[in-house]
Each structure stands twice: as C-alpha cells, then as structure tokens.
C-alpha cells in the first residue's frame, strides 16, 4: 500500500500537469469552436470528513463543452469531489475543504459566493432518479419558478424544450400533468436531467446516473449525454469503465482520494501511464 502511494504521489502533485493536458486538448480539437478556458478547475483541492481526508490534493480541469468521466473504485473520493463542484458537501457534517476549486476562475468555496447562483449554474443528476412527487410539468418548472413569476407560455416553452433535449418529450407530452412517480426508472432519470436543463446550467454533474437503470435505459441516457456535450460541460462519475470510454472525452482516475491519472479517454484506456490505472481498467481490483 505504502509503495503504491509513493509511486502515484508525484503524479497528483505535479502542478503543471493539468494545464498542460488542457492545452493539449485545445490543440487537438477538431471542431471549429474557439479554444477557451476550462469551465471548472481544481488546484491542490482537498476534502476532509473530520480528520479523514477523502480527496487529496487534486489538480484537474474540466474542459468546457466536453464530457469528463471520473472513475475509480468505491470510496476513492470521486463522488465527494464531484459533489463539491456545486457545494452539495455543505450538507455533510464535519466536511471541510482546502485548496482551490474554481468555476470560471471564481473560487467555489469563497465565503461570499452565492451558493444558490452556483447551483443554478452547476446542475446535478443523482445516482437514483429523484423526481419530486409532483406532476411531470411541475417537476420541470420547479427550478424556473423559483426565480420568480413567469408567463405561462414562456414556461410551457421551457418545459417543452427541456423535455425535448432530454429526449423525453414524445413519451410524456400527453400526460404532463400526471405524477412523475408514475414514470419508469429510465424515464425518471431523463426527467431529472430535463429538470436540471430547464434552469439552463453551464455545467452538469452526473453522479453515477445509470447505476440504478436497466441496460436499455442506460443506453438512452448515454445517448443523451452524447447529444448534450458541446452545449454543456459535463462531469460524470461512473463505476462502469465501458460507459466512461463510450461517453467521455476525458477521464480522470481516482484512487484512495488521489487523482492518479488524468487525460484523454482514448489515452487512458489504451495507454495508461500508471500501473494502478492499468490494474483498475483491466479489472484487477475495484
């Protein structure tokens, strides 16, 4: 154990590495969108639960408009890290952070940062579909209505476009006023994605969005992720390496709270630089 830690530690602490990867990405972009700053970047970012350090010194960037997958064995801190990006860790007692985590260059953990605004810009989809026990329409409209009164026609438009983006419109357009709890698991998860999209976020966090779904629904959600990339910066935590390789542009491998390796998905899966990464993706542990 000690041995492997020593081996991987230089990787995590290499401050220059993350930007260089990013630069690398920019250089290789094939579409014609101009290169831009990363949407979310972490520098020496740590998370502690009381005295236990769950995320250690992470340096990485989430490229704008791209899908970044975070993989790693259970309890490696990947979910914890993801949840920090929209401050969901605020609700965990004794959870403290150090280092820098920035959204568009603004520290997410700044004392005077507006958490409500942050969460609107950084949407989240959870492991289990969690639609509110309201109608489908009200579920989608929930986030929009929070911002104040809005004309019914405008709201209808938002609901429809969100559902369309989440590829759910055709399935539910006739029963918008029925309860969201009546939908199937996959539909519920897409509803949750639509709900997140309705408030027009910039970043979308997905915490193992398919772990509670059957293969067919999983495929539809993966399809959806593919369709959304480009417009949204997506960070997805997954246990499923195939899924990571299918949907993501970049992959980060976490192990025991450390960011072991981060790079283009194709590189990580075909040519991992670290032994631990190799062991994990070949299924030797995890």
């Amino acid at each position: 154990m000690e041995n492997s830690k020593e081996k991987i530690s230089p990787l995590g602490r290499d401050a220059d590495r993350a930007p260089s990867v990013c630069a690398d990405v920019k250089a290789r972009r094939t579409d014609d969108t101009p290169p831009s700053e990363p949407a979310v970047s972490a520098r020496g970012f740590c998370v502690n639960y009381g005295s236990f350090r769950a995320v250690k010194n992470v340096d990485m960037d989430f490229a704008r408009g791209r899908v970044t997958a975070i993989i790693g064995p259970s309890g490696c801190g990947k979910s914890t890290f993801l949840r920090c990006i929209n401050r969901m860790n605020d609700f965990v007692d004794g959870c403290t952070t150090s280092g820098l985590l920035a959204l568009d260059g603004v520290n997410i953990f700044h004392k005077r940062l507006d958490v409500v605004e942050l969460r609107r810009r950084v949407g989240m989809v959870f492991q289990r579909p969690n639609p509110f026990p309201k109608s489908i329409y009200d579920n989608i409209a929930y986030g929009v209505r929070l911002r104040g009164r809005i004309a019914r026609s405008a709201l209808d438009e938002i609901v429809e476009s969100s559902l369309r983006r989440a590829a759910l419109w055709d399935e539910v357009k006739d029963r918008l006023s029925s309860s969201a709890l009546g939908l199937s698991g996959g539909q519920q998860q897409r509803l949750c994605i639509a709900r997140a999209l309705a408030v027009k976020p910039e970043v979308l966090l997905m915490d193992e969005p398919c772990s509670a779904l059957d293969p067919k629904s999983t495929a539809r959600v993966e399809e959806l992720i593919g369709a959304l990339s480009g417009d949204y910066t997506i960070a997805i935590v997954t246990h499923n390496m195939q899924q990571a390789s299918r949907v993501s542009d970049f992959t980060a491998f976490f192990y025991e709270g450390n960011l072991v390796e981060f790079g283009r998905t194709s590189d990580i899966f075909t040519n991992p630089k670290c032994e631990a990464t190799n062991d994990y993706i070949t299924g030797r542990f995890g």
Partner: protein
C-alpha cells in the same frame, strides 16, 4: 422574485425557526422552574420555631438541643412582648382613671344635695315635664364627671389602660344606677314623694351620666376592637400564648403560629401592620376597611408593641433553614397545612404498581403475538387498529368505563378501590406498552431467531430463550415510560380510586379501599382547599414530587435507551 429577497426570506425563515426553538426552550424553563424552585421550598425552607414545635408535638420527633435552645430563646423574647400586652391590658393601668372616675362619681353623688330644692320643685310638675326638668338639673351635677370620663378615655387610648378601663366601665353603669338611687334617697327623703317620683329621680338624675358613659364605652370598644384584631393577628403569627389557651382550641392550625418564615412575614405585614376592621358607614351597614395599625395606634403603647414586634421579630420566631424530609414520609395534618404527603405517594405507588402488574405481562404477550406470530392480513390489521384506537380514547372516558363496567357491573369492589383504579390505568397504558414492546421485539435481528431455530429450538422456545431476553432491556424502556404515564394520570382514577383524605393503605386494603393519590390531591389542594394561601408550599411540593417521579422514570428510560444505543453501535 429577486434573488436577494429569496435569500432574505430564507434567512428570516431560519431566524423564525430558531426563534421557535428558543421559545420552546423558554416554555419548558418557564414551566419547570417555578415548580422546581417553589416545590423545593416544601422541603428546604426558612422555618420558624413553630415548625419544630409542630414536629415535636405531633409527628413524634425529639427536640434536639438546638430546638430546645430555640424554644427557650423565643419564649424569652416573646415574654418581653407579652409583658407589654399584659401591661396594656392589665387593670393596673386603668387604676388611676378608675380612682378619678370613682372620686368624681362620689363627689357628684354627694353634691346632689344642693339641688334638693330644685328637684323637689321639679317633682311637682307633670310627669311628662318632670323627667326633662330633672335631667336638665342633673346635667350640671354630672358635667364634671362627664369631663373626667372623656378625659380618662382619651388618656387611656393614648397612654394605655384602655383595656382595663373598658373592663372597669363595664361595671360603671351599675354603679351609676346605684348612685342614682342614693341621690334619690338623699333628695326625696322625708319629702313624702311616692315610689314613682323616687324612681324618676333615681333614673333621670343619672341619665346624662349614663349617656356619656355609653359614648365613652363605644369609643373605647372601637379602640379595643382594633386592638383585638391586632392581637388575633399576633396569635396567628406566634400561636397561642400558653398551654391553657392552646388546649381550648380545636383546629391544629390555631394551635401553632406560622411555621414558615415567609408566611410569618406576610401575616405580619397583612394582618398585624395592616388591620381589617369592620366599620359602620353612614347608613349603618357594616363594611370592612383596611387601616394601617401604625396610624391607628399612633402614640399609644400598641405602637410600642408594633415596634417590639418588628424589632424582635426574628428573636421571637428564630428563623432558620430547615430540611423537612418528613414532607415525603409524614402524614398530612389539618387539611395538609401541616405534615407531609406520605399517603399520596404510597397511593400513587400502589396504583402504578397494580397497573404495571396487569398491563406489562399483557402488553408483552400482545407484542410477542404481533411481532412473532401475526401474519399480516385483515384480522391482524384490525387488532392493530384497535390498539391505536384504544390509545386515542380520552382518559376521562376510561374513568367512566371503569365506573360503569368494573365497579357498577363487575363489582370488583364496593365502590372506589385501588384495584378498580389499577385495572383502569392498566387498560389505559396497555396500547403504549404493546407498541413499545413490539418495536423492541422488531429490533431483535432475525439472525437470532434463525440461529435458535437452527439449533433445534421450537418457535416458542426461541422466543422465550433468545428473542425476549434480547429485547428485554429495550422493552423495559417502554414499560418504564408507561409507568410514568400511569403514575401521572388523574382523570381515570377520579371515579375509580381516588379520595381526598386518608392514610396510607396497607396491602390488605387495596382491594376494597379508595386511596389518596398525588395527581388527584394536586387537583384537590389547588381547587378545593379553603386556605389555599397557607398550603402554597404543599401545592408546589406535590406538583414537584409528581413531576420528579414521572420525569425521573422517563429520564431513567432515556438513559437506558442511550446505553442500549451505544451498545448496539459498539457491536
């Protein structure tokens, strides 16, 4: 909506919620603190020497040396005060006045001779004019006497002796009549006046003096009535002066002064320094008025008594901090004014014990059935619903049910009894016990049952040897909490078991006798006691005792539960 307002609303809601919590805490404190503080006053308080007197003479306590010293010192201090009252009331103080009045009466009687001619003249008048004439003549004769009388009354009121003077004046009317006869004898002797003429002279010659005497007496009576009010206040404060007086009184509350210093002070300011007098107003109707004793008696010896009382207040009562643990072990005396609350505690104990003996086994058995045997379905659902329904029935209805069913129909006892009360209470707490025991049984992991089954135990054997012992501590928690509820319930025992006064019951009387019980007696002493102001400490003391019993049981349950949880966590 603007984000800033949303956040403001959020913050104000947080503030409101916190405020509600704080108010909840304040509520609990405002509720418990008076009960605890004043309730403790039933046991620990500033007592006067009278407290020890009551204990020694009625509750079989032996006087300690400190008590004896206190008795001696307070008696000495009181003697000083009583010397003042004696002096004030004694005939000696009035002697000077008496001799003055005596002298003037004799002088006036003797001086009648010089009016002989005029009186004889008057006797010749018609009888209707005669009386007026004689009165007119004799008014001069008695004017000196009347002045002296008025002077004496005034002087006695300001310098003492009014008490003796009043007694002296009681006999004065007879003496005046005698004087009248003497005058009549002197004046009409040998004049050949008839009987009626003689008696007319006798009557009318002292008429004026008698009128003045009445005036003086009523004047004195008013002063002395005020003094008597003052004295009765003092007696309430210090108790009767001697054994003779004490034995002549019936109620125990009259035989002793104030046992509590705070009550003594209250009596001093409300019944001694301020007097409640009855006065007649213009229309002759009596009404009571409050007057300051110091003003009323200003410049008189009574004022000196007031001063002495004030100055020697502590010396007469010997205030000291007393721990009256007997509050819990003594029988009450004279409607709870003295003594403790032992029978109520015992009654509550019997009622609770009886209820637990019945309800705990039944409740545990039901819980075992629900958690181990019942297989869901309609009947179990219905039984469960009935448990819930029984839990929701108002407690007073339980009481009526106990009266109508247990006493009037089953006739478990002839009228109210501890047995009937216990059974009613048992029914009342049964649902609570069933629920908590069922929860405890459900918390026992299934692996226990399976392991017992794998070892070849029958279902009943597994329940008896493995499941019940594992669930017992947790069941105990629920049972203890129900016990607290049974101890505190009032409404069910009003018609089935409770009585207002009585001594602690023995085991044999439980099946036939009603008992006193803390909850009922708290109601009783608060709502129906005729001297509520004197039993304030008992009211609070009872409330605190009951609260302490119930909360103590609950606290024990909470601690037990916390220990269990810790054990489970460590497992």
């Amino acid at each position: 909506m603007k984000d800033s307002s949303r956040k403001l609303l959020d913050k104000s809601f947080t503030a409101l919620a916190t405020f509600t919590l704080v108010m909840l805490g304040v509520c609990v404190a405002a509720f418990l603190l008076p009960i605890i503080i004043r309730g403790a006053g039933a046991v620990v308080f500033k007592a006067t020497v009278e407290h020890e007197k009551v204990l020694c003479e009625n509750f079989g306590r032996d006087a300690s040396e400190a008590d004896e010293a206190r008795f001696a010192s307070t008696n000495a201090a009181r003697e000083k005060f009583y010397a003042l009252t004696d002096a004030y009331e004694s005939a000696a103080a009035a002697e000077k006045f008496a001799s003055d009045i005596d002298a003037l009466r004799s002088a006036s009687t003797a001086g009648a001779a010089k009016y002989k001619e005029r009186i004889c003249g008057a006797l010749k008048l018609k009888s209707s004019e005669r009386a007026a004439k004689i009165r007119e003549i004799s008014q001069k004769l008695w004017s000196g006497y009347a002045d002296t009388l008025a002077r004496c009354v005034k002087e006695s009121e300001t310098s003492g002796g009014s008490y003796g003077l009043e007694k002296f004046l009681d006999a004065e009317a007879d003496k005046l009549s005698a004087a009248g006869k003497e005058i009549s004898k002197t004046l009409t002797e040998g004049s050949g006046a008839g009987y009626s003429a003689r008696s007319a002279v006798a009557r009318n010659s002292v008429h004026y003096a008698l009128g003045k005497l009445e005036e003086a007496k009523s004047d004195l009576a008013e002063t002395n009535a005020a003094y008597n009010v003052f004295k009765s206040g003092v007696r309430e404060l210090l108790g009767p002066r001697d054994a003779l007086e004490k034995n002549s009184l019936n109620l125990m509350r009259q035989k002793y002064g104030q046992t509590r210093y705070e009550n003594a002070k209250k009596i001093f300011s409300e019944d001694i320094e301020t007097l409640t007098l009855t006065q007649k107003d213009a229309s002759g109707a009596e009404k009571s008025v409050r007057v300051s004793a110091r003003e009323k008696f200003s410049g008189t010896p009574v004022e000196k008594m007031l001063d002495t009382l004030r100055a020697d207040f502590d010396a007469m009562l010997a205030p000291h901090t007393a721990f009256y643990w007997g509050f819990f072990t003594d029988n009450p005396a004279d409607a709870n004014i003295f003594g403790g609350i032992f029978p109520m505690i015992v009654g509550t104990f019997w009622l609770t014990l009886g209820a637990m003996l019945v309800a705990a086994p039944l409740g545990m058995a039901s819980a075992v059935y629900f958690s181990e045997y019942a297989r869901g379905g309609g009947i179990t659902g219905f039984l469960r619903m009935c448990v819930g329904t029984l839990a929701g029935v108002p407690s007073v209805v339980f009481g009526l049910f106990g009266l109508a069913f247990l006493i009037n129909t089953l006739k478990v006892s002839d009228g109210k009894s501890v047995l009937a009360g216990s059974l009613t209470l048992a029914l009342l707490i049964l649902p609570t016990i069933i629920r908590s025991c069922e929860e405890a049984l459900k918390a026992v992991p299934n692996s226990y049952r399976e392991a017992a089954g794998a070892l070849g135990a029958t279902k009943a054997g597994a329940i008896l040897t493995v499941v019940l012992p594992a669930a017992l501590p947790s069941m105990l928690t629920g049972i203890i909490i129900s016990m607290g509820r049974a101890a505190g319930e009032t409404a069910p025992i009003i018609f089935t078991a409770a009585t207002s006064t009585g001594l602690a019951l023995g085991l044999g009387e439980l099946f036939s006798q009603p008992t006193t019980a803390l909850p009922w007696n708290i109601y009783n002493i608060c709502s129906e006691h005729e001297m509520a102001e004197r039993v304030g400490h008992v009211q609070y003391g009872m409330a605190l005792t009951l609260t302490a019993i119930v909360l103590g049981l609950n606290l024990a349950a909470i601690i037990l539960r916390m220990k269990l949880q810790r054990k489970l966590k460590n497992r």
